[in-house]
Amino acid sequence: MSDPTHPSPAAQPTDDLAADAAEGQEAVAPADTVSTERLADYLDSGREPYDPLIEDDPECLAQLVALERLRALSSELVESDVETAPAPDPSWIAGVMDRVRLESRTGRDIPLASPDVRSTVHITEGAVRSLVREAGDSVPGAVVVSCGLAGDVGIVDAPIHVDVAISVVYGADLRSVADLVREAVARALTRQTEIVVEALDVTVRDVHLGAGEAGL
C-alpha cells in the first residue's frame, strides 16, 4: 500500500498547491483555520450547538463536509470484510484532510457570464475544487485525494485542464471507478461552472482499505 500523501506525477496540477505536492512537501494547513480536530468534535456533537466559525465560513464548511464523507467511508469499510486485509495506514484520512484544507482555500475568481453590465458574477477556485472533490467522492469506492485546475481560470473561455487524483477501495475495478469519477466530475462542472474543460484526467493514485484507526 503506497503512501496516499505522495503525489502521482500524472496528477500534478500546476497551481501553487500542487507545486508543494510535486516537491514532495507535506501539505500543511494554514495556522489561522479551524483545526481538523475541532471539525471532528463538531461532527461528533451532531453539529450542535451551531458554530458560526465553521458554518458561516465556506472554507471550513467544505472541510467539514469532506470530513463527513470520509467518516462515512470509514464506517462502510468497518462493516465490510476488511478484517481479511492488512491494517490501514492510520494517517490516511489526515493526509487527505491536509489536501482538503489547502484546496478549500478561496484561490482565484473564475468569471461567469453576466447578461447585465452592471453585475459581475464569478465562482471561486476553492468552490470548484470542493465541487470536484464532492463529485468524485460521490462515486462508490472512490475517494478524491487531490484535485487541481491548470490554466488561466481568470479569463473567460480559457481552456482548463482538470486533474483529479483518487484512491480506490481495495478490490474494485480501477478503470470503472475512474471512469465514473470522470463522468461525475464532468457533470458537476457543467452544472455549476462555465469553465471550458480541455482535459479531465483522473489518476488512480492509491488503493485504500479502512480508515477507522485515524482517530477521526
Binding site: 451551531y50 458561516d56 464548511l61 453576466s114 447585465d116 458574477v121 465562482i123 468552490a127 464532492e134 455549476q192
Partner: protein, 158 residues
C-alpha cells in the same frame, strides 16, 4: 486619505455611505437606513431559489471602495468624519448570523458585494445571475444611484 474605516475579514455586513450634495438620495439615507437596506438585500438574496447560504465577503469593504471609481477618498474621509462605515459585526451571539451583504453608497454609485453558496441541485451560474438581477431590480426600485452588483459563488451545499 483618512483610513478610519475598517476592512476586517472577520466581520461581515458593511455599509459605507459617503457624503456629497445633500440633495442626493445616497446622502439623505441615515446609517440605520443603510444598515436596514443591507440586511434587506441579504434577505432578498437568501430567498432566491437555489441559494443555500449567504456569506459576507472578506475584504469586501475595500473591494467596494476600489470599485467606486474616483471616490475612494470621499468615501473614506466622509465615513471617518461621520464615524460610520465600520462594518456591522456579523452574527448574533449564539445564533445564526443574519444574511449579509456589503453595501457601499456614494453620490454616484451603489455597490453591493456578497458571496453565496448554492444548492447542489441548482445551476450555480444561473443562481448567481438571478441573485444579481434581483438585487439590481430592488435597488433600481429604491432609486439609489447607479447600482452595481458583485456576486461570487463560494461553495455548493446539498
Amino acid at each position: 486619505m483618512d483610513e478610519a474605516t475598517t476592512d476586517d475579514a472577520t466581520v461581515g455586513a458593511g455599509v459605507v455611505p459617503s457624503g456629497g450634495p445633500a440633495a442626493d438620495l445616497a446622502t439623505t439615507l441615515s446609517q440605520d437606513q443603510l444598515d436596514d437596506l443591507a440586511l434587506e438585500l441579504g434577505v432578498l438574496v437568501s430567498e432566491t431559489e437555489g441559494v443555500a447560504r449567504v456569506h459576507a465577503r472578506p475584504g469586501a469593504i475595500e473591494i467596494a471602495r476600489q470599485a467606486v471609481g474616483g471616490l475612494r477618498a470621499a468615501v473614506a474621509s466622509v465615513t471617518a468624519r461621520a464615524g460610520v462605515g465600520v462594518p456591522v459585526e456579523a452574527g448574533e451571539a449564539g445564533g445564526r448570523s443574519p444574511a449579509l451583504v456589503t453595501l457601499a453608497v456614494t453620490d454616484d454609485e451603489t455597490r453591493v458585494v456578497l458571496d453565496v453558496a448554492v444548492d447542489e441541485a441548482a445551476s450555480g451560474p444561473a443562481v448567481a445571475r438571478a441573485v444579481a438581477a434581483r438585487l439590481l431590480e430592488h435597488l433600481d426600485a429604491r432609486g439609489l444611484p447607479a447600482p452595481t452588483i458583485d456576486v461570487r459563488i463560494v461553495g455548493t451545499s446539498s
